[in-house]
Structures are given as structure tokens and as C-alpha cells.
């Protein structure tokens, strides 16, 4: 496993030394005989070197991962790391195949492109052997234990109501719709946003980051690009847009849209 993701895990551990002393699980990985070799390999990588739970599992007050809520969602560097278990908010459920494609390339059909801290993780993971990525994908896919019928139920977009959402709808029409309504696979097209996980997670933080900062590959590298709207949208306009996009996801309004917009645009807490 490439070095950088290890460094990230080590620094997290360092920041919660007390937690490490009390909560560190020591000893070699113990395979689950009821599962395949690939699954076990994936579990070994994800739990050990990959340490996916470091971001994707909520932490207790001591800073340790809550074992009983493994992969129920966490945070990393002011971004939300979505739940990967039965609480997965992904509008289109992940499969081992789509997860593998995502880990390899940072993008999968009907899923948002990677962004934020995960983008950096994947830049490293893309160099791992393919069978390791398949193994991790198989393991992570298995975490969402919901039966297929339960996973298939998608919330319907709700109509924009209230002034903020209606203002946001106007912003969307002028600033976002031209690309995002085309859908992928056409020139200039981007993911229809009802499919974007950023609209479905409990916080507006990720979406606010993406709109404000854009999605930009590292200097000199190729990669998906979304323009930044910093400077174009005021704090209020960004918050209105976040509210409208949440309606597009068919979910109840975020409580933190105003504060996230203020934090990013004005730099105030």
C-alpha cells in the first residue's frame, strides 16, 4: 500500500494517543473462514493498511473509532466521509464492480467523481495492484448488508419550496444546469446531480467545498475538472443553491447550509 495513505493514518493515530493506548487492536488479521480469499484479502487491506475506517467510521470522545458503528460515516479534514455500511446514502448503491472502478480511476458510472481528501487517497490507490483493489472493493461492497429491494428505493426529488430554495433553483439554472443537465458521455456533460452522494449525506459540507473550490487535478496532472464558483456566488447565493440541491435529492433541508457557506465564502466560522 503506497506510503502516503499510511502517513495520513499515522498522523491521525498520533493525534489521539490516548485513544491508541486504550483502543488499539493489536495482533495479526484473523481471516473469516466463511468468506472468500478475496474478501479476506480485502478485509485485511481495508482494516489494516488502508484503514478506511479512520475516515469512514465515527469516533468517540477519546478520538477512537466506534467499533459498533463501523463504517457508519465519519469525517476527514472538514469533509464528510460517507457511510459505507447499511446506512450508505449513495443514491445508486455501490457494487463490487463499480467500487473497483472507482478505486482504480476515481470515477464510476452513475457515481460522483472523487473529490476532497478521498481524491488524494485514490491517486495513491490507483498504483496498487488491481487484484488488491478488487479485494478491497469486494470487502467494502459487503459492508452494505441491506437486501437489494431495500437498496433500490430512491427518494424522489421534491419541489423547491420557500424563497431560499427558489432562489437556489434560479442559481442552478444559470450556473449549473448547462453541464449537469446534459449528463455524462456528452461533450461538456456532468453527472445529473440527483445521483451525487454529496446531496444525500447529512451535511452540506462536501457540496459546499466542491461548488466553492471546484474539482481540480494536482498541478500538471490530467483529471476531471469542475470550475470553482468562488467569487461568483456570495455566501447567501451558495447557501440558497445548497438548499435547492438538497431538495433535488428529495431530503429534508440541511441545518448547516448557511454556516458552511459562510465558512467557505467569508472565511468566518
Amino acid at each position: 500500500m503506497p506510503r502516503t495513505s499510511q502517513a495520513r493514518c499515522r498522523s491521525r493515530a498520533r493525534s489521539s494517543r490516548g485513544g491508541t493506548r486504550f483502543f488499539l487492536h493489536k495482533g495479526p488479521y484473523r481471516p473469516d473462514a466463511s468468506k472468500s480469499a478475496q474478501w479476506n484479502r480485502g478485509a485485511y487491506l481495508a482494516e489494516g493498511l488502508g484503514h478506511c475506517g479512520a475516515c469512514h467510521t465515527p469516533r468517540n470522545l477519546a478520538g477512537a473509532e466506534k467499533k459498533r458503528e463501523a463504517y457508519a460515516g465519519g469525517e476527514a479534514e472538514d469533509w464528510h466521509a460517507p457511510a459505507l455500511n447499511a446506512a450508505s446514502p449513495s443514491p445508486v448503491p455501490w457494487t463490487a464492480d463499480t467500487l473497483h472502478t472507482y478505486l482504480r480511476t476515481g470515477i464510476a458510472e452513475d457515481h460522483a467523481v472523487t473529490a476532497g481528501p478521498m481524491a488524494e487517497v485514490l491517486r495513491n490507490l490507483s498504483r496498487a495492484p488491481d487484484e488488491d483493489l478488487r479485494a478491497i472493493a469486494a470487502y467494502v461492497a459487503s459492508l452494505d448488508v441491506r437486501p437489494d429491494e431495500a437498496r433500490a428505493k430512491q427518494p424522489q426529488p421534491r419541489e423547491a419550496n420557500g424563497e431560499a430554495e427558489l432562489r437556489g433553483k434560479a442559481v442552478y439554472a444559470g450556473a449549473c444546469g448547462d453541464c449537469h443537465d446534459r449528463g455524462r458521455g456528452v461533450d461538456g456533460g456532468a453527472l445529473p446531480l440527483q445521483l451525487a452522494i454529496g446531496l444525500a449525506i447529512p451535511t452540506s459540507s462536501n457540496l459546499a467545498h466542491i461548488i466553492h473550490e471546484g474539482i481540480v487535478p494536482p498541478d500538471g496532472e490530467a483529471g476531471p475538472w469542475m470550475p470553482s464558483y468562488a467569487g461568483a456566488l456570495t455566501e447567501d447565493q451558495l447557501a440558497d443553491l445548497l438548499d435547492y440541491l438538497r431538495a433535488m435529492a428529495g431530503k429534508p433541508a440541511w441545518k448547516d447550509a448557511r454556516s458552511e457557506a459562510r465558512k467557505l465564502v467569508s472565511g468566518k466560522p
Partner: protein, 157 residues
């Protein structure tokens, strides 16, 4: 009707609020400096400043721009009276086809107004959203470095 403040002047525009600023600048306000390169916020040829920050005018609807200060390359100076950024670009002969240039200048202007002491590395990083197909990059960077010195020195080249 929407009123836009462009280069210090109010313009009353009869356009759909969804209309991207780029179209209004070129078609209604008759300011052709900002260019259409991609219409997707991917090339930067449309870059102008709003309240001192560089934005892609091709993906910014005029509905969000009321009561905000819009600045285009025409606002940096005229042929008879070049501003420091323009003077620097002429001095360094920083243009080939010129299509990317107004966008480059506006992105650079936004940087230097916020950070007059920007280093060359910061200038390069700031210009990343603006593409140049002709290969004028080195001259553009030199011009911005020169403009930075001029602006720091009080705007006199």
C-alpha cells in the same frame, strides 16, 4: 430588466436572468474583451472580475450579479491610456493570437489586487484555470511579474 455595474458604469440590460454574464457583456454591453472558449468554465478565456475576484463569466448567470462590481479587461485601461497590467503585457509582447489574454489579465489582476507581493510561483498557480493554446505562457508570466512590480510601485510602470 437587470442593472449591472460594469467597469464603474451602470448598464440596464433586458436579458433573461439565467443568461451567462459573458453573453451580456459581448452582446448587450458591447464589451468584447471576454471571450467564449468553451462555455464550460474549463478554459478561462471568459474570465472577468466580480468584486475583485476572478470568475468564469460563461457559467455565471447575471441573476447573481446585481449590485456587484464587475470589471472587464476594458476596465484596466484604454488604448490611449494603458493600465499597468496592459502596459506590462505590451512591454513583454505577451500575446500571440490573443484569445486567452483578457482572461489571463483579469485572473492576474485579481491576484495582484489581493496579493501585490505574489511570487512567480503564486502567479503560476493562480493562472492555472486559464489555458493558452499558442504557448505564450512564459511571456504571460513575465508580464504579470512586471505588472506586480509596477502595481506595487504605485501603478507606474
Amino acid at each position: 430588466m437587470i442593472t449591472l455595474n460594469v467597469n464603474g458604469r451602470a448598464h440596464s440590460v433586458d436579458a433573461d436572468p439565467e443568461t451567462p454574464l459573458l453573453y451580456v457583456l459581448r452582446d448587450d454591453v458591447q464589451l468584447n474583451g471576454a471571450k467564449f472558449g468553451c462555455g464550460l468554465g474549463q478554459c478561462g478565456a471568459c474570465t472577468v472580475m466580480v468584486d475583485g475576484e476572478a470568475i468564469f463569466s460563461c457559467i455565471t448567470p447575471i441573476s447573481v450579479l446585481q449590485n456587484r462590481k464587475i470589471t472587464t479587461v476594458e476596465g484596466l485601461g484604454t488604448a490611449q491610456s494603458l493600465g499597468p497590467m496592459q502596459r506590462a503585457f505590451v512591454a513583454e509582447q505577451a500575446a500571440q493570437c490573443g484569445y486567452c489574454i483578457p482572461g489571463m489579465m483579469m485572473r492576474a489582476q485579481a491576484l495582484l489586487e489581493r496579493r501585490p507581493a505574489a511570487s512567480e510561483a503564486e502567479i503560476r498557480a493562480a493562472l492555472q484555470p486559464n489555458l493558452c493554446r499558442c504557448g505564450t505562457h512564459m511571456r504571460i508570466v513575465r508580464a504579470v511579474v512586471q505588472a506586480a512590480a509596477a502595481i506595487k510601485g504605485g501603478g507606474k510602470a
